[in-house]
Structures are given as C-alpha cells and as structure tokens.
C-alpha cells in the first residue's frame, strides 16, 4: 500500500458515492416539493438553473438560479441523502430574483429548482450534474 490513508479514504468515498443507487431518496424529494408547493400544480418555464455539466469537486458545486418575478426559490439535490438544499426568499424590493450558492453532491444526480411566483403559481426546472472519479485526460 503506497496510498496515504487520506487518499485511500478519498478513493473509498468516491466509490461509495458512485455505487449508491440513484433515486434512493425519491420519496423525500417528492415530500419536499409537496411541502413547498402545498400540492399545487407546478409549471415550467421562466426559471433558469445554471450548473456545471461535470462537477469539478462534488463537495462544492456552484449553482445559480434565476426566476424573474419569484418570491421564493427552493433548490433540491435529488441524489443526496437529504435532498433539501435550501430556499431563497425575495422581498418585494429585491432587484433581481436570482441567487447563487455552492452545494455538495454525493453522486451524479439531478438538481431541481422550484420557484413560487408573485401570483402564487409554481414553476420548476432541473439540470443533471455528473460527479466522476476522473483521472485520465487526453
């Protein structure tokens, strides 16, 4: 063994993360959405989610979301043990209804953003983010 303990752990963690079954937290994602929308119908459009195609570091993935006219936006990481990332609230004087943050992703998964609009309607979008071991560039 010539890997240091830390590297071995890093490899092991990556392996565990990648081996985890996608969709395992499906139920709690749905629950989180239901809690946010109160069961209302969720439309599409008018919300933009910017994520990297492949995460450079699964522990800190930059995510940006924007929905003009939103009063709040909820972010969900569907493949995380706890999919609830957080909710951004915008007051009536907020200049732009956009937010950016960094989130931790345990594995390749879809990130979902749902906005509550000023008229009480909901709209959603999602983006897949790949988390990889990497290591063999051309």
């Amino acid at each position: 063994m010539t890997f240091t303990r830390r590297e071995t752990l890093a490899l092991g963690l990556g392996a565990a993360a990648l081996a985890a079954m996608p969709g395992a937290s499906f139920a709690s994602t749905e629950e989180a959405i239901a809690a946010f929308t109160g069961g209302a119908e969720v439309g599409e459009g008018g919300i933009e989610l910017t994520t990297p195609e492949i995460a450079e570091n699964g522990n800190t993935v930059p995510v940006e979301v924007s929905a003009p006219g939103a009063t709040s936006i909820m972010l969900l990481a569907t493949g995380n043990p706890n999919p609830d990332v957080g909710t951004f609230n915008f007051g009536p004087l907020a200049g732009s209804r956009s937010a950016s943050t960094r989130i931790r992703l345990a594995q390749s998964q879809d990130v979902i953003a749902i906005a509550r609009m000023e008229d009480g309607s909901f709209t959603r979008t999602s983006a897949p983010v790949k988390v990889t071991i990497g290591g063999c560039g051309g």
Partner: protein, 568 residues
Amino acid sequence: MMSRRDFLQMSMAAASLYGASGFGSWARLAAQDRFDQDKLLEFDTFGNVTLMHITDIHGQLKPLYFREPAINIGVGENHGKVPHITGEDFRMRYGIGGGTPLDYALTYDDFVALAGAYGKVGGLDRVATVLNAIRADRPDALLLDGGDTWHGSLTCLRTAGQDMVNVMNALKPDAMTFHWEFTLGTDRVTELVEGLPFAALGQNIFDAEWDEPAELFKPYEFFERGGVKIAVIGQAFPYMPIANPGWMFPEYSFGIRDAHMQEMVDEVRAQGAELVVCLSHNGFDVDKKMAGIVTGIDVILSGHTHDALPEPVQVGQTHIIASGSNGKFVSRVDLDVRDGRMMGLRHKLIPIFSDLIAPDPEITALIDAQRAPFIDDLTHVVGKTDALLYRRGNFNGSWDDLICEALLEERDAEISLSPGVRWGPSLLPGQDITREDIYAVTAMTYPNAYRTEMTGEFLKIVLEDVGDNLFNPDPYLQQGGDMVRVGGMGFKIDIDEPQGNRISNMTLLSTGEKIDPDRSYVVAGWASVNEGTEGPPIWDVVEAHIGKLGTVSQGAPTPVEFVLPDGN
C-alpha cells in the same frame, strides 16, 4: 470550385513545395498526379485573412513517427461520423488512395511499410518552414496554438516547459489556449504566461473562489488583419481539475461555459468583430455540440482529441478545423471576409513530412540548444523493439501494453492500470528505444507508479467511470482521451449501455478466473490525480523493464471485447 480530390491534392502538394523536391517516392507519386506548382501557388492564397493552426504538440520538438488509431468509436449522434472513422472508411470518405502519403499521414493501415517509404513526420523546425512559406504568401497570417504544448517530453519536464516556450516564441504565435500546461502548477503557469509575448486566452478559465473570469487569462483578443477586425476567443480544456490533478491548480475553475461563450461572441460582435474565431481545446465532439448551441462563431480551431481532418466540418454557420497532434500537421485556413462577414473559406491540412520539408536552420539550432544539456539522457539506449509501439486506439496500444506489463513485473502486481492518454509517438520495429522515447510516452508532473489494493467491485467502478467519460452519448459529458489501459485483466465493454452496465466479464488473466467483487487485488498504476501518491516515476519502471527484456517483442494485447453502438 475545386473538387474534393483537387482540394486534397492541394493540401498534399503544398507540403512538397517547401522542401527539396526529388526525395524518393514522394516525388514519384507527385509526378504521377502531375502537380503543377504554378497552379498550386495560384490557388494557394484566398480571400484576405489566413489562420495557421497547430495544436497538441505535446513537447515534441523533433521529427517522429505517429500512428493514427485503428479504433476510434463515436457514440450517440456521432456514430460513424467524422472523426470517428478509421482506415478504409477514412480513405473512402475523403477519396484517399491506399499507400499514398495522405494514407500514411491519416490512417493506420500498413503503417510500418508506409513509414519506411515516407519517413518521419513533424519537427518544429519543419513546422517553421511551412509557417514561413505561408507568411511569404500572407505576411500577416495569424498563428494560433491550441495548447498541450508545454508538456510531454524529457526536456519539457526537466525545464518545466521552458524548452517549448523558447521554441514556440521563435515561431511567433499570436495566441494560445491551454490544457496540460496547468499540470506545471499554478506558480509556474503564472510565471510562463506572464512572460508570453502573445495572448494567453481562455473564456472558460475562471477564478475558483469567486467564480468569475480569471485575471491572468483574457477571454479574447482582437487582431486587425487584411483590413478585417478579427476576434479570437480562447476555450481551454473544460475538465482539467477532473482529468488532471486539480490540487496542482486549485485557484482555477474551468467547464464548458457555453452561455459565457455566447456572451463573449456577442460582446466582440458588438465591438465590431467581422470574423470570430474560437481557439479551442474542447475536443472535437464537444466543439461540434457547442457550435450547435453558440451562434456567431465563424471558425473553431479544434484541439484535444488529436483528430486530423482533411476537410472542415460545418455545423450551422460554423466551420470546425481539426489539426492533429505531436507536430504532425499544420492547418492553413484562408478566409474571405467582406462587408463584416465571412464569405468563403479554403482550408489545407498540411502534413509535416520531415524528409520533404527543409528544416529552418535557426529553429533547428534553437531546438538543439534546448536539448544540449540533456543530450546524454535523451540518447541513452535502453533497449530495442522488434514490435511496432504505438499508443492511439480506444482500448489498446502496444506502448500501453508494454507499460502495463512493466507495472505488473516491476511492481509485483496482479493488475495494472495506465491512463488512456492520446499523446506519445510511435516506434518502428528495429528501432532502438532511448530514454527520450520512454519519456515521450510517460513524461508528466504526477508520474508516481503506485501499488495498492483494490476490490473487484472498486475496479469495476473505475472502469465504468472512465468508460462513461469516453462513451457517454452526450459530448458535454465526455472528457476526451481513451479507455484506461489494463494489464493482467481482460474485460468486455458494451458501449451503448449506461454507466454501471457497460463493463462485464472482468477476468484475471493469470488464472482465468472471473474477478471477485469482494476480493482485494494488488493493483499498480500511475498518473493518479490524488495528491500524495507515492511510488517510483513511471519512466524508471518502464526503463527497468525494457532493460531486462533487452529487445521488446510483439506481445499479446490485453483482451478487451467491445460491443459497438447500434448502427455503427
């Protein structure tokens, strides 16, 4: 309009112009096709702007042999599409005769025989002659370097890229973008970039902490050429911190960032750019996808995946040019730009036949000066090969088979792993193997040959992960490169399956037994992206192995059974 065949002949004959004529079979073939130099010169210069593109030199200053791949599979929409065709399919697609110089330059068949007939390729002193000849036609031609320049040889490693910087500066590029350069580490990259007498570009090179464009690298540069305002936008390799050790350059973040690319295109157009060129290290399929998303780019000069194409590929209004690797080709792109837009394009992929193109003596002297301090190492003969040693191919390369064998033997392992990189020249049967040759396929700043234990389950995860980076049908999720090379273990890969289901039949070759997911195997490998990896540098491992063999003979490649995508 020129027919395709004429067009290709032009490409070829252009090279012969620059060298002394009358060398062996080249002149004979040229005579058979009745090339007329006046006619060629008349055709040579077109429009009012000339771009010269060279990319993925990987530190190769001197002429070499380079065999193109036999297996280069395209997935998704790129099934059977350029550049994912090889051999006879490639010849048919471009109307190239078997056994011709272009066949030798662009395909793999009969490589040894054709290498004997046509000789070595590349050498930056030959490249200099070609660039000078183009500049004689069009003195203000732009030279654009697609990156992977400061990496890949003994001298480049020992001088931390200085040899390449010195020689490239003498060729006078106008702009450059980046990939492996970053494996020199942030401090050295900063030092070298700050000293460059030309533009260091990358619209997708961001400050990792603030997620905003990095100060050291401009997104684009304007040039005035032939009365045309040209914007060159840089696009560095998007997946550097994943494919290479991110801990060596933690200050930087990359990604494709096509929305930002669109912003940059709109910005330069608003500032009056009449021609927008993207100098890209995306890789070919990523460039194709990006060209379908970002509007307003006229020409993408494509690098990273080492494809050499005799014709541009058009996506919408964007023309993609692929110029090969290892100094083997220069692309010349002549453009007619009028009334604020591109009206026409003429392109030549010029193979650098080292025996036909006279070296530029000043550049030869400069190259030799870079090599002089290391000449004893460079020329040290370690052994000899009776086999053709090459690297390119999706699953196997005989160089990698040899490296994997060296890891098994020298590190006393059951299984070995070697990265699926696409750089590294070929050696012909009968050639000596020098220390320089070994470094040319191994030199890097994270060379440690580790020895560790991995379970069968983890090995499968590694193969699935790399397999998806190569064969995911979405080009934006591909990282370029080829499949990780494996020694001591065979496997089957079903390319159309999703990640997790591609790999099967993993078999330990020493016993013929199936790999047990729960058992631990002793695995040796190199080029780990993890910080603190320990072990001897891979070139010492390979040198020790070849030293014991004396002569490398043709070995059996690691068995990889692959199931092609439907319709391929």
